[in-house]
Amino acid sequence: MIATILNRLIQMAFVMFGISVLVFLIFFATPGSDPAARIAGRNAAPETVAQIRHDFGFDRPLPVQYALLMKRLFITRDLTSFVNRGQQVIPQVIDAVPATLSLVTGAAILWVLGGIGVGLAAAAMRDTWVDRSLMILALIGISMPVFWLGEVMNLLSQSRFHDTWLFSWVPGLGYVPLTEDPAGWAKALVIPWLTLAVLYIGIYARILRANVIEAYSEDFIRTARAKGLSERRVLIRHAFRTSLLPFVTMFGLDFGALVGGAALLTEVVFGINGVGRLTFQALQNLDLPVILATVMYASFFVVAANAIVDLLYAAIDPRMRT
């Protein structure tokens, strides 16, 4: 067990190293990305720009700059932003985590329940109008860009119908910490949760339905039926269980990425200052230290989530023990 974990940690280090090098190289390969002139402002004298380049160490060789950045990120842990100079990057990311976790966890509960509910209902009533309409809804959910959906939700809940009974409870955009005001926290997040969950409900419901239907054609289901088990029991105990595999795999991928900051557009639209928005602003500003920190953080969660999923496989499907 310890060996497995250790092995995974080493692999994680490789993934993070690979990504950081890629990000670093891409940044410096981009014309106009050199932050010195951007920091110096409009109409700066060339001497001033040169001075700032020197202060930041941009005049040193790239490998040295990379090593220094990594040292300040992981060892001395005092890496600061290029754009908001003096702002330490690590506390920034840590401060942003609760908001992202709140958003993603709530949405994940919604989409897992929604995905399972819709997927099973559609599979159970395959080829009826119920199945068809559920799948049409699922596809519409997938076809809507999340940013657009978020803006429409804001249009309805904050502007057009803000004063009606339907949305008068909706607070202003932004995140309310759970510890400060639990009711306010939930109220502020309901619409973001729904917005983020819609896409995944669509995807998961379709995947689950397809797998359940496929499972029905397998021998062991026929055996179960032949044994006289009820349809419900066959569906839940057997077909659903074998269909969980891709479901869990994708959940690991999505949840890991979202906690890592992939919910950036949702966070931006709803003014939630989480890791996603931090990533978004860092990308907009081309703020390399923050980009690196958020990408490292994201890759940690992606790798960790996949490791957990791999462990879960054995529990779900005994055939996968190798």
């Binding site: 014309p31 110096a40 001497e47 100079r85 003096g86 804001n154 639209v269």
Partner: protein
């Protein structure tokens, strides 16, 4: 009190500032008693970067610094053109120049304290001027390089002393500043926040997110660029000049960062915020202009949108092509993109309306005269045909922000109509400005904007189009067109020298220089934008200074 001095110094542009909108002392005390208190809630899409007043170069924070930091002189806190008038701030008076215009002796006011309780002294002033160079302030090499000893400071900031340039006399309470040559814009340059006076012990590096104590009515308490900036009253503040640093009505100002533009508008509409920094998105303009008309203030800006054309790259290395585009652009259409005639005014010259040296003139229109009326497509087509450049590829580089992208798309469409193979590329707003400056990127034409630092013609003409601001191969080369005409350059130098003694004649010359440049057409001026301030219902007594926009200290919320 020094209006007269200023008048002779800065000329016709400021002559309009003859009346003041400040209410009398008595009624101000009454208003203060009635409305003092409360919190002003501001929202912006993003923070403005470092909080260091000597490094930050954004209007977003310059606006806040007005109530937090003071210079030796300051722009008056007042409405409209009053906001461009210089008044003594930490200095008792604006001094007369001596030594052929090269020496100024400032007498410091007594009894002013920083927000940390320490007293303001001449040492602080001397240290602050050195600090401009030690922190590599963006304008250290362009605004303050005229101070004696500045060259050494620029070459080696760490050991900067400004020896012989800024001399303090603690006993007399005076600071003497010596310039290498007379500078008509010197007072403007020391009135902007980069020359703010900070405690002598302030760190000599960019402080980033740790606020430095100031002498103003408010002080910064916490700053987190991802979340908020909070200002409260400076406990050690005693008002010494209502014009330079008025006491404020509200008790605190909270600036929240991170909403989208649409979210900001909605927050102000619903009373969750009092003001939005960003301009309302174009699809909300009609709505707020109709349903919230009394909460909207529209004011002219001394700025312009323009399309710099690279005079060193085909096809814009042919003056006929540059003129053709100037003739062909329907500036009214662009005004529409920006939000309509209430929000912008077509221009075809460089100096904005109402600016020193501006004289209404337009050569690139159907009937050349004083104002733009309609595009002249025949003339434009003829010029393009003559140049023989038809069919060339042209890429218009814009920012990825909505208006810039739309303006670029329209310009590309015009170029297509003229017979070119034009396309438009939007790149990240944060990179675009440095990208289009660097000659290595061979940008043909781009969309950009320029806002004044201070009201002087050279701040547009000399900065944007002089040989000195063209640095090939550098990301910092604000002469984007790469325009360098030695004849015009000499005339600009002469005009700046003349401004010391005869500003009116100098401004007349600047108007001619503006025209001479437009004949060469290194850029296509597009329109002068106006600024929209959208406030919540409870904010009263809105004053818009032409220099730093909304004067927050003069408004109340209760």
């Amino acid at each position: 009190m020094n209006r007269r001095t200023l008048f002779t110094l800065f000329g016709a542009g400021l002559a309009l500032a003859s009346t003041t909108s400040l209410v009398s002392a008595q009624s101000r005390a009454d208003l203060m008693a009635a409305h003092r208190g409360g919190t002003l809630k501001l929202v912006a899409r993003a923070a403005g970067g470092t909080i260091d007043p000597q490094v930050n170069y954004t209007l977003q924070y310059w606006q806040l610094y007005q109530s937090v930091y003071d210079g030796l002189v300051a722009f008056q806190k007042g409405n409209g053109i009053d906001g461009t008038v210089l008044v003594p701030d930490l200095a008792e008076a604006i001094p007369e120049a001596t030594n052929d215009g090269k020496t100024y002796v400032f007498k410091l006011r007594q009894g002013i304290k920083f927000s940390d309780g320490s007293d303001l002294g001449v040492d602080d002033v001397v240290a602050s001027f050195q600090r401009i160079f030690k922190v590599s302030s963006p304008t250290s090499g362009t605004f303050y390089n005229g101070i004696v000893g500045a060259d050494a400071c620029i070459a080696d900031p760490a050991t900067c002393t400004l020896e012989g340039g800024v001399i303090g006399d603690a006993a007399a309470g005076t600071v003497t500043i010596n310039l290498v040559a007379p500078d008509p814009e010197f007072f403007f340059k020391i009135a902007v926040p980069h020359a703010a006076i900070l405690p002598a012990e302030a760190p000599t590096t960019d402080v980033g997110v740790e606020p430095i104590p100031g002498t103003g009515a408010y002080m910064f308490t916490t700053y987190n660029p991802n979340d908020s900036l909070v200002m409260v009253r400076n406990p050690n503040f005693v008002e010494w000049s209502e014009q330079a640093q008025p006491d404020g009505y509200v008790d605190s100002i909270e600036y929240a960062f991170g909403l989208t533009d649409e979210g900001e508008v909605t927050a102000v509409q619903n009373g969750q915020a009092d003001w939005m920094f960003d301009q309302p998105p174009t699809d909300r303009l009609a709505e707020i202009g109709t349903n919230y008309a009394d909460q909207v203030h529209v004011n002219p800006l001394t700025a312009f949108w323009y399309a710099p054309m690279n005079v060193n790259v085909a096809p814009f290395n042919d003056v006929r092509v540059r003129q053709a585009l100037n003739y062909a652009i329907d500036r009214n259409a662009l005004v529409g993109i920006f939000g309509g005639q209430v929000l912008a005014q077509p221009v075809c010259q460089i100096l904005p309306p109402g600016f020193p040296g501006h004289e209404d003139t337009c050569m690139y229109t159907k009937d050349p005269g004083t104002t733009w009326s309609a595009p002249d497509l025949e003339k434009a087509q003829a010029l393009v045909d003559e140049s023989g450049t038809k069919g060339m590829d042209i890429t218009v580089i814009t920012e990825d922000a909505v208006v810039s992208r739309d303006v670029g798309t329209y310009i590309a469409s015009v170029l297509t109509d003229l017979g070119y193979n034009a396309s438009v590329k939007a790149i990240s707003s944060n990179i675009q400005f440095t990208y289009i400056q660097n000659t290595n990127n061979n940008v043909q034409i781009s969309i950009s904007q320029w806002y004044q630092d201070y009201p002087a013609a050279s701040n547009f003409l000399n900065v944007l189009l002089s040989c000195a601001s063209f640095h090939p191969g550098s990301d910092s080369s604000v002469n984007i067109a790469g325009f360098c005409d030695e004849g015009i350059d000499a005339r600009m130098q002469a005009a700046m020298a003349q401004a010391v003694t005869d500003p009116e004649a100098a401004n007349a010359e600047w108007a001619k220089i503006d025209q001479a440049m437009m004949e060469q057409a290194p850029m296509a001026p597009l329109f002068t934008p106006k600024h929209v301030d959208f406030l919540s219902k409870r904010v009263q007594n809105f004053n818009f200074s032409n220099q730093f926009q909304w004067v927050m200290a003069m408004s109340w919320v209760q």
